[in-house]
Symmetry: C2
Amino acid sequence: MSQWVYKFGGGSAEGNTSMKNLLGGKGANLAEMASLGLPVPPGFTLTTDVCTYYYDHGEKYPDDMDAQIETGLAHIEQLTGKVFGDAVNPLLVSVRSGARASMPGMMDTVLNLGLNDETVDGLAKLSGDRRFALDSYRRFITMYSDVVMGVHHHTFEDILEDAKLDNGYNLDTQMTASDWEAVIVLYKAAVRDALGRDFPQDAREQLKGAVDAVFGSWMNDRAVVYRNLNDIPAAWGTAVNVQAMVFGNMGDTSATGVAFTRDPSTGENRYYGEFLINAQGEDVVAGIRTPQTLTKESRLEMGDDAPSMEEALPEVYAQLAETFVALEGHYRDMQDIEFTVERGMLWMLQTRTGKRTARAAIKIAVDMAEDGSITTDEALMRIEPLSLDQLLHPTLDPNAVRDLVASGLPASPGAAIGQVVFSSDEAETLAKAGHKVILVRIETSPEDIHGMHAAEAIVTARGGMTSHAAVVARGMGTPCVSGAGTIRIDYAAGQFTCAGRVVKAGDIITVDGATGQVFAGEVAMVLPEMSGDFAKVMQWADDARTMAVRTNAETPLDVQTARDFGAEGIGLCRTEHMFFEADRLAHFREMILADNEEARRDALAKILPVQREDFAAIFRVMEGRPCTIRLLDPPLHEFLPHAEADIEALAETLKLPASELMARARELAETNPMLGHRGCRLGISYPEIYEMQARAILEAQALVSKESGINPIAEIMIPLVSSEKELELLKAHIDAVAADIDVSDYTVGTMIELPRAALRADRIAEFAAFFSFGTNDLTQTTYGLSRDDAGKFLPDYVRAGIMEKDPFVTLDQDGVGDLIRIAVERGRATKPDLKLGICGEHGGDPASIDFCQRVGLNYVSCSPYRVPIARLAAAQAAIRAKGL
Amino acid sequence: MSQWVYKFGGGSAEGNTSMKNLLGGKGANLAEMASLGLPVPPGFTLTTDVCTYYYDHGEKYPDDMDAQIETGLAHIEQLTGKVFGDAVNPLLVSVRSGARASMPGMMDTVLNLGLNDETVDGLAKLSGDRRFALDSYRRFITMYSDVVMGVHHHTFEDILEDAKLDNGYNLDTQMTASDWEAVIVLYKAAVRDALGRDFPQDAREQLKGAVDAVFGSWMNDRAVVYRNLNDIPAAWGTAVNVQAMVFGNMGDTSATGVAFTRDPSTGENRYYGEFLINAQGEDVVAGIRTPQTLTKESRLEMGDDAPSMEEALPEVYAQLAETFVALEGHYRDMQDIEFTVERGMLWMLQTRTGKRTARAAIKIAVDMAEDGSITTDEALMRIEPLSLDQLLHPTLDPNAVRDLVASGLPASPGAAIGQVVFSSDEAETLAKAGHKVILVRIETSPEDIHGMHAAEAIVTARGGMTSHAAVVARGMGTPCVSGAGTIRIDYAAGQFTCAGRVVKAGDIITVDGATGQVFAGEVAMVLPEMSGDFAKVMQWADDARTMAVRTNAETPLDVQTARDFGAEGIGLCRTEHMFFEADRLAHFREMILADNEEARRDALAKILPVQREDFAAIFRVMEGRPCTIRLLDPPLHEFLPHAEADIEALAETLKLPASELMARARELAETNPMLGHRGCRLGISYPEIYEMQARAILEAQALVSKESGINPIAEIMIPLVSSEKELELLKAHIDAVAADIDVSDYTVGTMIELPRAALRADRIAEFAAFFSFGTNDLTQTTYGLSRDDAGKFLPDYVRAGIMEKDPFVTLDQDGVGDLIRIAVERGRATKPDLKLGICGEHGGDPASIDFCQRVGLNYVSCSPYRVPIARLAAAQAAIRAKGL
């Protein structure tokens, strides 16, 4: 005989906290608290196995379940001294669902079950409060009819409104016992009208209906969609908890409250919570009355008049505080607790690990590790890496008044205030003149880099989380809202409109990159604090992790920021940015427009000294740490202007016919630039470009080595390789340059960013000292999905439940990850000491970092502001790999 | 002691034809002929092992090689009765390279080696012809100095020209013995001047020099590049053949000639060849004298006056004819033979399998199979599948006069004549009026389909072998020259220019798609003949092959053509073409521009009956053979006009503001359309499109089944799937449509054309009845290479030796093929009976078809005109798989 029912209460329980799969989260924790001897209203849990059985057998229950439910009810009756369905001494129960994971969309709770026309009198007499009993009954009819019987709660709200109107009342509290009595008659009639049958009066029939409703809701549309999106198997099922009711609204010695064992906002080790005298849980949530503080200390701090629980109910408070200590000691983590006091008697209704801010997570983890409650490994596992982002950027003051003008995607966190500008040139000019500017563009391109650098924040009307604006902004640590699709930018008029509002160039706006919101005017800000605890956590993380953390950076500012955040090297220095600055773009365009190798070499020779100095600056900051420098990657047309006026201006400058320039631009244009003449294909067509870059890198290395005595580590990286022959040929060119300069202390490696490169890793490894997985492009090619275009249909995909996560944010481990696994295996088979890293955007994503650890990479590389996140995520990955 | 030297001659040999790897092709066949007792001038072969040893040991020879060469020379001396270097009775030898595969770029031949100032007198006396001896000597000095010593042959040609001028001669034949004597003195002086040393007089030194030159040339740049391009390992090495000279120029009983044992042009079983009395081999090639026919029959046919060899040298001819029979019987294939007659004595200098036209290949194979010389399997292996192309299209008369105006890529074979038109509308109008037109465009797009259908041939200025024009033209069997980069088209002026010539609309041109040439005016044509032998070969191929052959076709004409060529089903019916015809494009555009589902459904409902009739027509032709129909694939913007004027015209038609239409077109435009909103992504975003298509297919199936009693087999194919969830969802939609119509006799499958689909094949197979590998897109994504853009840099790749073959023509087995292997394994692991096919362009490429056989596909599918090629290639693949 299977056990379908697990009883708890009276100082013991058949289940415990480790049985979450069988009892659900709520049921397991109720059992655990009962076993700990804490005051838990007695009850029982119908297991998730019942749910599985129910769906496996055409929505039928196991034969022996009803008998076990009777045993469970008898257990509650025995402990409470009340009888389920008894008119004189009625037992009331709550029925709650409880899955392994929190599941929105399912039936949640039915309270006061067991009330009917007779037991309501019993409750009135027991409580000595007829109005309370009738109020409970009408609430039960509403709740049960709505969630169990499918009569919409509006039906009952309408009846209540009419009754209040008839009586000239404004508030429910004005309703008397006899008013409720009249309403209940109408409620029951409404149920009969709607369903053609009476509201069930039999307590057991009520219970059966509630249990059916919970199990039935497991397969409703909302729950199914939620599970699909969150990868929760339908086979998990839900449990049902049936528990004796306790009442916090039985007079002045009754109360209800919620509490955290530590401050969930700051992490301070002091109790934090709210309670209400003579109230039920829903009253706290409803916000009709102002809750009171738990402790006197809190009350004094807040200047509150109403007494704290510590003062109002000192004995129960002392018992509650003891319970806090017991629960935190038992669960070894901060707890989020619900309790009710019924006539001076404390009852625990729920405990679970409490949610907390990033700041609190760090403080709690550090405090508990330092007092020996948990290990440093456990402390590290308790902090959500992505939450650190909140601590690394200024944020809006949560209490500030806001005037929202537009919303988009939270593309790069942080908040900033400035005046609106619509062109990158203007952004630069105004910034140089000391103004703070916000760059607002339909979208950005590499030509906007100088404006993006100058801006405090960036807003674009188009583009997703991985659009040019978003990627560059994150790299710079500049707040960015991308894809604010409702704004219409009119460059000519120098303004944008959004929902009828007009914002002009020069107007002040505030941008919150963490939420994707744009506000009119200045919104007050809070600056980030790198507390001592933060530094401690980072140190523990560095001790725990086995993968190195590098950064994707190329400007001296970004490189320095990344160093300050603890980057151990550069994983991706994108040299194309080095061609866009004004002092070289002209020469580079000259090279593009040259029609023979000699003219190209002449133009490149002018860029060489500038680029050498760029690399020297990076080497100086990195002080001997490895620097992976990627040679030119984007197609040449990205360096030419596109607008007719710009082309004419450039033609004027270069003293070329505009028609010729336009023809060249047209010639260079590509149908699919992502799959076009770029990456090492440029190096094959124009070897002189890569030769100049190699020379600049190696000469800078020699220079810095000489001036500082520290030898920079240059790792020259060839992009977009698809065949070993490309790498062989281009490596030979670089080696020839090195031989010419007479240096030898460098390595040559490649990006693995095309499926073919992953598949041919065994051959490519013959010529590569290292692989760096360029997972942005690898995702694009593996999925056949353009980052720039996917924004149009990915929402359809998420809606249809096809794609759970944006594969440009979190690595697609099944597909792209499979190619990485293949490349790692094949590459290392050829060269066991092959150095392996990742430099796509995924290098800063915790789930992807965990994958990198499992697949055996040596390092991850991410944008400067992601470095602390990556350090923590890498530590967690290493700890997980140890099997914690 | 290793054997470095293999002797042959005098009725025996140490080697044989199976030793090509060791002796090279030439050496092995000389040995074989010698063993057969045929008259082969005695000689020996220095093996390819010598070459390998030479390069493995820093360009040194094995110690014992010289001694073995001496043995070889002694062998020749013994059989010829002459002595190497002897002044009275000199032995002269030829030195020839001979690798396993023919190798342009290497040193080829030195003749008359052994001549010097003394032996030339001996030769004069032996031959009784002093002028002949001196002429041989001066030729030897020129040839040897040039290829062995590096003195350019121009040096000698200049001296000879001067001598002729001085003497007032026009022709070499006017030179007397004493003239040659004088020239030889100047030749030797020139060598001394150039090198500071004398022309070598010692015969053994000459021989050593020639051997060095052959082995040295194995590693020269041209040979290395050739090997890289043709995948020939350097380790193969070359052999060197040293052989006694024989002279066809020793008077009227001497002769030299070349012969084929069957007619290499028609395949007829009769001797075919040419010879010259009193001449050396090079005279036949030089074309100074007109060669005579071999047989009397040929002479009479050609109306030739000069006697045939059969008549002039009847005894030797009889001996030669016997040799032909012996060789063909021995090698079991048509032979290409070189021979020399020295004073009535026949000498065989070479035999090898003869090259032949497609027509000849078929006739020879069929004849030999039918007379039992070879099996039908062997017959099939003897025909190059791609060569069949020559037989399937009209071709230019090889004897016609031509006036070339432009050249491009041979994008689709066949020849056509017509008047130039520059727009598809005009092409259609003129064609309807009975004119034959050639459509000339900068490039084509799907909007040109009607014009391409109407045209006799297509010429484009841009695009490669797999551009839109090329692919569509091949599919239609229409001749096409693509990427004729030198022509400049001026649509406005209605003309194109090329190298200064102007061709106007209406001018007649001739297009040869097989060579990529465009000619002014009409060039005479030859029509294709499907001979009985062709049909026989196809029948044998069908019996031998295990893979089915389907076609990629959708118009009734193409489907019928493919059936006539033997297609066993449709592997790819591209339904997008069905939206482009005039009677539905307007409705489809209406759908694209609709802003809600209802309006889209209304527009689609108008297309449904037309599309249903399209499918019915296909089902009728295919008479119960399987038809794989791909649902809409290209992005919607391809269906909208792009030019401003076209947009305005459309806006007028649709009664929409042009600005709105332009905005929608801009909204739909994509940065990388190849990776954009297309394929099943459209089916996810607009389920109503796929539902309409599924309905049209299934209703057409029911219709044709009812009218003919033959049930069409519909295989509905979902394109661009990257995740099993896409397929699951879309299959459910199709199943719902089928349930609605109440049909069940169809299957749903998917293209595998993205790397992720290949990797996830195990999961995708859960919902797919079949996979069809879309290797065009799979190649694009695996390589990260856009077909439309690759043309700009692939030439650089070929030049650098990085890419051997265009991966869009021949499947990249290492990379793309690896993904196919993975997909086959994983797909069949889930569903062992999964039906697997290929429908990319590669389905018509023999090397790729061989791969498909090895990897276990069930069928290949190709354009209609490729079907016979694919049938033969599939047969060859099956025969190879059996281990033949």
